[in-house]
Amino acid sequence: MPTLRNTFRTVGRSIFNLLAVVGGTSLMLLGVIARLIELPRTSRQTFLQMQEIGLGSIPLVIITALFVGAVAAVQAAYQFQDYVPMIFLGTVVGKSVILELGPVLTALVVGGRVSASIAAELGTMKVTEQIDAMELLAIDPMRYLVMPRMVACVIMLPVLTIFADCLAIFGGMVVAKIAVGVSTSTFTEGLRMFFYVDDVISGLVKAATFGLIIGLMGCFNGFRTFGGAQGVGRATMQAVVSSCICILITNYFLASVLFRLIFYRGTT
């Protein structure tokens, strides 16, 4: 009986914790939305965060995007052998990068870096009473700390995704020429053949949503940090894990909705 009771207690506590996280993140998101009218007051902080998130992530995005495009080209060429004309190599690399690989992989690598950095910074501020000090100066930490970070993430993720898309396609094109022997003109012709602006827009909608998730998870976990250095470490880990999981789950639902919308528009 005690084992059964412990099991129920553990399951109950896990459900309670999950509901607390869902409730906490929802409240934080609503709090930021309610304060958006005050965004001009924190334009300096928002700009600094955009620099930190955007410029700081460029080296990571360059390496990730170039190699993702290269792998996409090599794998597609391998699967096309003897079945599909190589002119479609550009089509496949372009589609997969713009719709899926660009937004998702950029979000995962940037999310790891940015959500960890946000959670660690805010977590340290929390455990060293800097957030209490801010409250005491009658400065709203949600407006001054959370909103600039979340807005910067929502703006910069689509920018980084466009950059990553271009680099990944470039990487695919170079590998197609060097390793597979597909000329640049053939590759770009295939790329242009089925290029739709709607695909780019859907990729950017995904990127903006992932940006929101990254900022929210970083800020939420940072703000609920307790217990010194160990607590900051725990919050950082939770921010990275939760943002990655949320990105992957949200990706499925967004893909379902966005593809349906694009397909519907394409058939009417």
Binding site: E129, Q130, A133, A138
Partner: protein, 253 residues
């Protein structure tokens, strides 16, 4: 100047009862020192005064207004009348000394950069710090950080300043510098002050009145002379710093 009143304040964290009916009144312009063992809820009581924590039972009144019942907007208006010096200084790591001191002025007033810089220099001069405006907190010593914390706390000319262990971790000379600052700010600016400390030399020097918190209640309050002469066994053990006595080791933890 503000009048502060804690009326039967109770606070519990999980299973631990920290405050168990604290009653304490601080008159306008008065400096009250709260002493007691670590973990008896001195800092928790300070956080109740400025609404960073809300009591489970009872009320904290500032000028007869219940702090816990205020809307967030009204609470922020009230907090602009307070300053607080934190035990760890709690300076914003990413900002320079001048930005730390001037942050509240920049956020709440329409003053120009030059005016803000002038006020920051004046406040830093008051705490004996000059030429450090452009430094970041990581470049400062512990005593300097505390003094920058002082300057930040008084930047908006508050009516009440709360000090959370202002001399902890400082050498005796720097502790005395800090004590002098508290006395100077209290007498020059005529502000209400609440000082939480373990440091009895500091308590005797800065306090008009000293209150001792034990097991979540105020067990004694009086002037520094009264506390020196009291025969209350718990107070005597604490001020004499004896391990033997009615206060059990770890009872306050």
């Amino acid at each position: 100047m503000l009048r502060l009143e804690c009326k039967n304040v109770w606070k519990q964290f999980d299973d631990k009862r920290v405050l168990q009916g604290v009653n304490l009144t601080i008159e306008p312009g008065e400096t009250v020192v709260i002493i007691g063992q670590s973990g008896t809820g001195k800092s928790v009581l300070l956080k109740h005064i400025v609404g960073l924590l809300s009591p489970d039972r009872g009320a904290v009144l500032v000028d007869n207004v219940n702090v816990a019942k205020l809307s967030r907007k009204k609470l922020f208006e009230l907090r602009m009348r307070f300053g607080m010096v934190f035990q760890s200084a709690a300076l914003f790591d990413s900002l320079t000394v001048a930005e730390n001191v001037g942050l509240a002025i920049r956020e709440h007033t329409e003053k120009t950069d030059e005016e803000i810089a002038q006020i920051c220099d004046e406040k830093l001069r008051m705490v004996g710090l000059e030429g450090v405006s452009s430094k970041v907190p990581a470049e400062l010593s512990g005593g300097m950080k505390k003094r920058v914390g002082f300057a930040r706390a008084i930047a908006m000319n508050p009516e009440c300043v709360l000090y959370d262990e202002p001399t902890t971790g400082l050498d005796p000379i720097m502790s005395d510098v800090i004590n002098n600052l508290i006395v100077k700010l209290s007498s020059e600016l005529k502000i209400t002050s609440v000082v939480v400390t373990h440091d009895l030399a500091s308590a005797y020097k800065v306090g008009h009145r000293i209150a001792m918190l034990h097991d979540g209640v105020v067990i004694f309050q009086g002037t520094p002379d009264e506390i020196r002469e009291t025969d209350h066994p718990l107070v005597r053990q604490f001020i004499e710093g004896r391990a033997e006595g009615p206060i059990m080791m770890g009872s306050g933890q």
